[in-house]
Amino acid sequence: MAARTRIVIGSSNAGRLIRVWMPALALIALWVSVPAFASRGLIDILVFAAIYAIAGVGVSFLLGQCGIVSLAQSVFFGIGAYATAYGTTHFGWPAPAGFAIGIGVSAVIAFAVGWPVLRLSGYFLALATLALAMIGQVLFLEWDWLTGGTLGIGGIPPLSAFGFGLNSPKRFYYLIWPVVVVVLWLHANLLGSRNGFAMRAMRDAPAAASVLGVDTHVLKVKIFVLSAVLGSLAGSLFAHYASFVSVDSFTVERAISFLLLAVLGGTRTIVGPVLGALFVTAMPPLLSSRFGEISALLFAICLIAAVMLLPEGFGGALKAALRGRGRH
């Protein structure tokens, strides 16, 4: 019996090694080796996809775990970008100060706006966040003393780590993906915790969640602030990578693309926003290089097909496929 138990445990460990660690090691090997063969264009796409994925995680857990549709992420993305752009170019602040100010301002605005707005729900809440995105876009344009308006802010210094300048796409690539992994790890921690269960309870049956002691309004505001913090972090990273920011990067279309990547990726999976961001960032240039003028139409068709064929998103489909493989 004891021998049999050991065999079962042994095979379970081997199974875990194959199921979890082998794909993880393969992904790490792929991540490390990509810059050796990828073009600059591809590395650019991978860096932007990572940045958008960080902002998209914020939109994704709001929608998938709390049932809150937010179109306001472009505002927090913009605040993060402008805070570090303005701070580093006008005052010569170190980049972490710009990041911190962006996160602080975003958190305060998310709290101030979220407190009244998150009493709404469904379409009304979505429209209210859309209004916020539109107001943000107008202010980013009109407050040109701060944002540079359409001329934007240029000359944003690259990030550096331990005296090592992250001034090339390859170097930035090696920074940004570990940041994505940390964000996903934080997301996973939150989902499997007391407040994670409360979020999902609130999404499925808000009245029943409040009966269990969950102050649904306060929890929604906290999660909205957290989402804004991720948007701001992504915006600051974007500013330092692009070295130039202007209002064009923080429009309502950007907000829609964050929501789009979250939905395409699958809002109820941890890796969904990453898959969605890769798709939304890589597909347009890929289609454009092959099909020219009709690429926009083809991208739209791809989006419709993806939503129709994969209602749970890429992440949901991947999860189902892995589960199916695990059973066989």
Binding site: G192, V211, G213, K222
Partner: protein, 251 residues
């Protein structure tokens, strides 16, 4: 009888229609108290007022001697007043065990930041919640469906999940709204046994039901009719009351 819940002179109207007219209700600690009445009597309104989903036009709700009329639903829940719903409100996309884990919310206290960082305290708390959820699953006969999405269970089991989720939160007063609705006879009998066990564990129960068989577990029954309590007492007294017979049977 030491009172745990006291409803004092509560009145409420909807758009001019008077639904409750100066209702007084007392629930003694450790007792099972029934609230019955024909359709439209105001039972649901009274239940919503007690649980905090409605603010009465007039009157007070006292819980353990404290006026809780102005307290929110989560505040009442943290004080120990928990309710279930006429249509079971399970967290459909969570498994049965996860529904119960969510039920532990008010007895845990880690913050969002600690949860994000996965601190050792946050992880220990989650382990405790899992253990407690599994043990309550066993107690309520839900161990076999522990990992199934609660929304896919039949109505009877969803009711049990809702009840188990309320119980895991260690309520002092459990308000059950039509708990036998949708259950078959065997399940109603099982429910009655559960309620008696809960009362023995010092959980006070306020029960709203149409089901006279189920209401038989109550030591005292209040009859609500057109917004007024028209009778109160043991089941045998209620059954013999002329006003109750008139309200129910029109005779």
């Amino acid at each position: 009888m030491a009172r745990l819940l006291e409803v004092r002179n509560v009145a409420h109207s909807f758009r001019g229609l008077q639904v409750l007219r100066g209702v007084n209700l007392e629930v003694g600690r450790g007792h099972i108290v029934g609230l019955i009445g024909p359709n439209g009597a105001g039972k649901s309104t009274l239940f919503n007022i007690v649980s905090g989903f409605l603010v009465p036009d007039q009157g007070q709700v006292m819980f353990d001697g404290v006026d809780i009329s102005a307290r929110s639903v989560p505040q009442r829940s943290r004080a120990g007043l928990v309710r279930t719903f006429q249509t079971p409100q399970v967290f459909a996309h969570l498994s049965v065990a996860e529904n119960l884990i969510a039920g532990c919310y008010k007895h845990t206290d880690s913050g969002v930041l600690a949860n994000l960082l996965g601190t050792s305290r946050s992880r220990a708390e989650l382990r405790r919640m899992h253990e407690e959820a599994y043990s309550v699953c066993e107690r309520f006969g839900l161990a076999g469906v522990r990992d199934q999405p609660a929304g896919k269970l039949p109505a009877g089991q969803q009711r049990l999940v809702e009840l188990a989720r309320a119980v895991i939160g260690k309520p002092r007063l459990l308000c059950l709204d039509e708990p036998s609705s949708g259950l078959n006879t065997e399940e109603v009998n099982q429910l009655m046994t559960f309620l008696e066990k809960l009362a023995a564990d010092d959980i006070t129960i306020l029960l709203v039901s149409h089901d006279m068989d189920l209401v038989a577990v109550a030591s005292e029954i209040h009859v609500l009719c057109f917004g007024e309590i028209i009778a109160r007492g043991a089941l045998s007294q209620i059954q013999g009351d002329a006003r109750v017979r008139e309200a129910y049977l029109g005779v």
